[in-house]
């Protein structure tokens, strides 16, 4: 983790330096021009290796920003991020007093969300992305690119009905009544972002890392978060029965020229997709996600996705995310084996109840 962070800070600094150095920029352009896509023995583009989709660019476009950021906007955002990371990466003061009751918040949603304002994580542990996503040469303000406003379309009537039914059910419980009332990540079932997806999107916190292994009849994508594996079979789909809905669905792949196209159906109804964003939704049984993987240079896979879910949305929508090659290795994310948090969350709620305090309803 530390090596990764040092690397990413360095890369960030280098990137900023290069922006002001015309000669170096031309050198990069020459390299790009002479690059030839590496191929597997069966002639397909070689997507194998370790990749990361960590980025500062949010899933949903912020208000008042165009789809493509200016160089000045990028520099301001990345520079601010770098300074924030450097500051937060300082060693903790061992003599500091306990934080005040209720926590002490930094203003950074990631840091505050992770620690509850008690200093649970400092930035040593966090690698949420320190650069703006550049796709096809454009620095992007959101990962969602269609519709053109960068927003996920609103739910259709069927989708609203499904959400209302889900809320009516969960509202029967307090948020801390049962393990099943807690989010998937707290239960160590899935990543807190939709890292595994599909669509595979960054979680803005840590471990946005993937390993791809490719054979003539399979593409295997290993997701560091919760050691999830997507096994994509190549060829004519033989879909699963409708009632079998694995967490990351049933994926089939094919090649369209040099692009790997993957179609996924049967995604688990409780898999929170596009989570950590205003675009979060739960898939209906009608969902189909189409992903397109294109190797564009030595260090980049362009990843594009389209969500078709007529049980939730009246129109399809999607986005584009660069996956960048990472030099480091992935770690084992053995979440469940060390999950003291879930026991403590539940027993803490029981202790509060003994003191006569009730918890808020489950509003997921």
């Amino acid at each position: 983790m530390r090596n990764r962070m040092v690397r990413s800070i360095l890369t960030s600094v280098l990137t900023l330096c290069l922006m002001g150095m015309g000669a170096a920029g031309e050198l990069l352009a020459q390299d790009a021009a002479s690059w030839v896509v590496p191929r597997t023995p069966d002639g397909r583009p070689d997507l194998q290796g370790n990749w990361s989709n960590a980025t500062m660019t949010p899933i949903v476009r912020p208000n008042g920003v165009g789809p493509v950021l200016t160089a000045e906007q990028v520099a301001t955002l990345e520079d601010g991020r770098r300074l924030f990371i450097e500051e937060e990466a300082q060693a903790s003061n061992p003599d500091r007093e306990a934080p005040p009751v209720g926590g002490e918040f930094s203003g950074d949603p990631l840091l505050d969300g992770a620690s509850g304002g008690t200093g649970g994580y400092n930035y040593f542990w966090i690698d949420g992305g320190d650069r703006i996503a550049v796709y096809g040469g454009e620095p992007r303000s959101s990962l969602i690119t269609h519709p053109a406003d960068g927003q996920r379309p609103p739910l259709n009537d069927e989708g609203q009905q499904a959400v209302a039914e889900r809320r009516a059910f969960t509202a029967r419980f307090g948020a801390y009544d049962n393990p099943e009332n807690r989010p998937l990540a707290e239960r160590c079932l899935m990543s807190f972002g939709s890292n595994g997806g599909p669509p595979m999107l960054p979680n803005y916190f840590y471990n946005n890392n993937y390993t791809i292994v490719q054979t003539p009849d399979h593409v295997m994508i290993f997701t560091e978060m919760v050691h999830d594996v997507r096994i994509i079979r190549m060829g004519e789909p033989k879909p699963l029965p409708a009632h079998i809905r694995p967490w990351m669905g049933d994926s089939w792949g094919r090649w369209e020229g040099d692009t790997l196209v993957v179609e996924t159906t049967n995604i688990h109804p409780d898999q929170a997709l596009a989570s950590i964003s205003a675009a979060q939704f739960y898939p209906s049984e009608k969902i189909k996600v189409t992903e397109r993987f294109t190797r564009t240079d030595e260090n980049t896979i362009n990843y594009a996705f389209t969500v078709d879910d007529p049980g939730m949305f009246s129109e399809s929508w999607g986005g584009e995310v660069p996956f960048e090659r990472m030099d480091g290795l992935l770690y084992e994310y053995a979440c469940h084996e060390g999950n003291y948090a879930l026991s403590n969350v539940l027993s803490g709620a029981r202790a509060q109840e003994r003191e006569g305090r009730q918890n808020q309803p489950d509003q997921r």
Binding site: T40, P41, D46, Q48, G49, G174, Y176, D177, N178, P179, E180, R187, C188, L189, T211, V213, Q214, T215, D217, H218, M220, F222, V226, H227, D228, V229, I231, R233, K238, P246, W247, L329, L330, Y331, E332, A334, H336, E337, L342, S343, L346, S347, A349, R350, E353
Partner: protein
């Protein structure tokens, strides 16, 4: 068939039994003699891509064992009977016999480690990490009663196990000592002729070998050897070294069988959610059991 050299330990019926059972453990050259063509990658290495599974009962107990009524027992008026916690499963909860996969028949425990194994058996329900859906470790992942899939290319060798969604990226370049110990360890593979040899280090001490309390320390290293002995069979060997637990290195050996169904695929067995009632049920606002 070549007869493995076995020295029976001790005289009498027990020694004879171990010796006879050991005869059943075949060696790689035996199967190679019966084999067809081994599939190969363009690079010439044996192509182990596919879905594989061990047959047999090593997952219950890697040592030779007779069938018994249940994994957890309690005293009965005449003979021991299944413990209350597992009684409802009836014959489904019974343990089938197995002829063992340990070369030589017995695990060479140090005396204190053997005592701990026996204690593990007495406290089986509280201690077996499989009950809690913990990652299985190596070599246990191989012979869990679930298939696993090998993804092999010229540059990668990756194993995805159905049980608990465990995985191993077997590095073909040694990254140096493991930075942290982990449930599945750090695996580094190399080709020794047509055998894929994997050295596994960085293993924590909390995994077991089977459902019989067989255990190890964090000093354990495992050397696995995968040898294709035909298009649909891999002879699997794992040599265990752990001087804190065992008096000498020892080896398990068993064939891996390819699932030849063209529609075969791994299922998803994310058992974490299946054990939430067991692990957290007492912390519900309104527990559903005493």
């Amino acid at each position: 068939m070549m007869v493995p050299r076995v020295v029976s330990r001790g005289a009498g019926a027990r020694g004879l039994l171990v010796s006879l059972l050991t005869f059943a453990i075949v060696t790689a050259p035996d199967l190679a003699a019966q084999s067809g063509e081994v599939p190969r990658l363009a690079s010439g290495q044996p192509d182990m891509n596919g879905i594989w599974q061990v047959l047999g009962n090593a997952h219950w107990d890697i040592e030779p064992h007779a069938a018994r009524a249940a994994l957890a027992m309690q005293p009965g008026p005449v003979v021991p009977v299944p413990a209350n916690e597992v009684l409802a499963l009836g014959a489904i909860g019974s343990v089938p016999s197995g002829y063992g996969v340990v070369v030589g028949g017995e695990i060479p425990y140090l005396p204190e480690a053997l005592a701990k194994r026996d204690e593990n058996r007495e406290h089986y329900l509280e201690r077996d990490p499989e009950i809690k859906c913990y990652l299985p470790g190596v070599p246990r992942a191989t012979y869990m009663p679930f298939p696993f899939q090998i993804f092999q290319s010229d540059s990668k060798f990756f194993i995805s196990y159905e049980y608990a969604g465990a995985d191993r990226d077997i590095y073909l370049e040694d990254p140096g000592p493991a930075q942290v110990d982990s449930w599945m360890g750090q695996s580094v593979g190399r080709w020794d002729g047509d055998t894929f040899e994997v050295h596994v280090t960085g293993l924590i001490d909390q995994t077991w070998f089977d459902r019989a309390g067989n255990h190890h320390s964090a000093a354990m290293t495992v050397t696995e050897r995968y040898t294709m002995v035909g298009p649909d069979h891999i002879m699997y060997e794992a040599t265990i070294e752990d001087p804190e637990t065992f008096s000498r290195p020892w080896t398990i050996r068993m064939p891996l069988y390819r699932n030849v169904d063209p529609n075969a695929r791994l299922g998803q067995f994310k058992c974490v959610e299946f054990v939430e009632e067991l692990l957290y049920g007492h912390l519900r606002k309104n527990p559903i059991r005493e």
